[in-house]
Symmetry: C2
Subunit: 334 residues, 2 copies
């Protein structure tokens, strides 16, 4: 029987998750049931939405229970298939991989990948959930017009880096907010027109005003918190804020976020603040994937990855992503 070191949830994190919230157990490799695939994990994805699942509070994603195998997106090779849709050797992507070297996946949730079209792990990044989120949040919710300024927080992250490049491709004016000078510099190299290191900027409202001399028309907010406030204070009349993520709240997840509220400013600017979840756009995934794949193959989309090695590294990779210590799409390579 194959050894299968598996991460389970030991307890619900309070605030920022810690390594002690997870437990590594040597479990036997699972057996594929009817309609399932047994898959050898090649890549695991850690993403901000997973923080919300580690909570007893009601949320949009089904919660993760104590003692359960940690779940997340992954790419792997089919070992055994109980489905006519897949054969051993196929490379697939699915959203419900366990954090383990061998996992089972329901065949009807898996997507076959073509390793010749793009590196398979891009299905977890620029051609997958973060890329699709960037595409729809920017184009379908933010709806910038040509020449408008699009401010993006977590700008070098999995979603931000794609949003910034789509904004460049489409003729908008993307401006980056990121957590280090190196990230800001890289953002400039992929087409962001200006950038702010929020850790050293001092007065964020003034820093955004300098980086966005024509104001902010669309703000893709991956963070919430003080960056949201500072962006709102620079928002143009009829500006739009797309609430894509709240990773700045990861360390106080189950507490209310107390701070200044800006309803008068929203009124005066006739701003629109709108929440975004990718699933709402499922009917248009194929079209977005076509665009993203074409841009990638034409060399228009750079996809920077931050790769942790080995199943042991999964919780730490997740935590550093929540802390913004990753530089690019955070992956775990097995």
């Amino acid at each position: 029987m194959t050894s299968n070191p598996t991460w389970t949830l030991k307890r619900f994190p309070t605030g920022m998750p810690a390594p002690e919230d997870f437990s590594l157990e040597d479990r036997p490799a699972p057996v594929a049931g009817p309609g399932e695939l047994l898959v050898r994990t090649l890549w695991l994805s850690v993403d901000p939405y997973m923080r919300a699942r580690l909570s007893p509070a009601k949320n949009y994603a089904a919660g993760q229970q104590i003692g359960e195998v940690m779940q997340g997106g992954g790419v792997g090779e089919v070992v055994t298939s109980n489905s006519p849709l897949f054969r051993p050797g196929d490379i697939i992507q699915a959203d419900d991989f366990g954090w383990q070297p061998y996992t089972t996946v329901a065949a009807d949730t898996a997507m076959r990948l073509d390793p010749d079209a793009a590196p398979v792990q891009t299905s977890l990044g620029c051609l997958g959930m973060p890329g699709l989120s960037a595409y729809f949040a920017l184009l379908n919710v933010g709806r910038p017009k040509a020449g408008e300024t699009v401010l993006i927080s977590a700008a070098s992250g999995a979603l931000g880096q794609i949003a910034g490049q789509i904004a460049r491709i489409k003729g908008f004016n993307p401006v980056a907010i990121a957590g280090s000078d190196a990230k800001v510099e890289w953002c400039r190299s992929i087409g962001y027109q200006a950038g702010i290191n929020h850790r050293t900027a001092g007065d964020l409202t003034a820093a955004i005003a300098r980086a966005c001399p024509d104001g902010v028309d669309v703000f893709l907010d991956n963070t919430a918190g003080p960056l949201h406030d500072a962006a709102l204070l620079n928002l143009n009349t009829f500006g739009r804020i797309v609430v894509v993520g709240t990773v700045a709240l990861a360390d106080r997840f189950d507490q209310p976020d107390i701070g200044p509220r800006f309803l008068r400013r929203i009124l005066v600017t006739r701003a629109r603040i709108e929440g975004f979840l990718l699933n709402d756009f499922e009917a248009h995934y194929a079209e977005a994937r076509r665009d993203l794949t074409a841009w990638y193959q034409q060399g228009l989309l750079e996809a920077r990855e931050d790769v942790a090695e080995g199943i042991e590294a999964a919780p730490q990779a997740f935590i550093r992503m929540l802390k913004g210590e990753n530089f690019g799409k955070q992956l775990v390579k097995l």
Copy 2:
């Protein structure tokens, strides 16, 4: 020379305006300049937006300066006309009446009223700014669908009462939030399906949940503050909040409003929060006025007024409206 007791701004209010912020001076009646009308004031309107003008802070409406004549909407009879558009005896409405018995109005900002079509003061209420605001905020920004629940704060006020009745006419499900049992009862009588007295309800979130068993699809927010929070916590997926006014903040107008922020809830529900200003819909006023006038003449729109008497009463009428002590559209009759 005619006596003309005139209210001027004595100082900028801090928090809730007080009678001492205004000064009554006996000025001579003004003289109409080129293109102007001399008007005998019949009705003055006091409205929440005027609070924002009494501030040195930058705002959407041009500010009122210390020592200047207080300005607001009014209805009056033309005494002298320096414009071919109007004759003495015409009854007009304009947005820039002084708080004084005789005032001058630029002819190109005045609208002639037909006293046979509707009582002339309705041009300050259901057929004027509050009515138009209710119409566009509800139908063009909130955009409810048939059967959806529309929650309205300050529900018996100038704007709220019209919004609730439009919602009833259009087949939505309007629910009132108001500040007394009598107001709630009257709201029910004009077509609101349920009502909440926010001063006695206790837990507002629970009270809204009881009054809106199917959740809230559209919230017309005239108040901000705790009512906004409680409504947001009852908002359905894809719910919409239209920020029409922030009168609950009138007593701490120039301070930040500190409290819980709900970006995660906005994300999870994919809610939309959008600011509203009437002026943006100017191109469609004629169409809205046609609808509102037709409904009024068919007896479908009740227009409740709260009338203070005499020019001396103007500041007090303004203050009681900001405090929510009015019951219906607050007017001053001269």
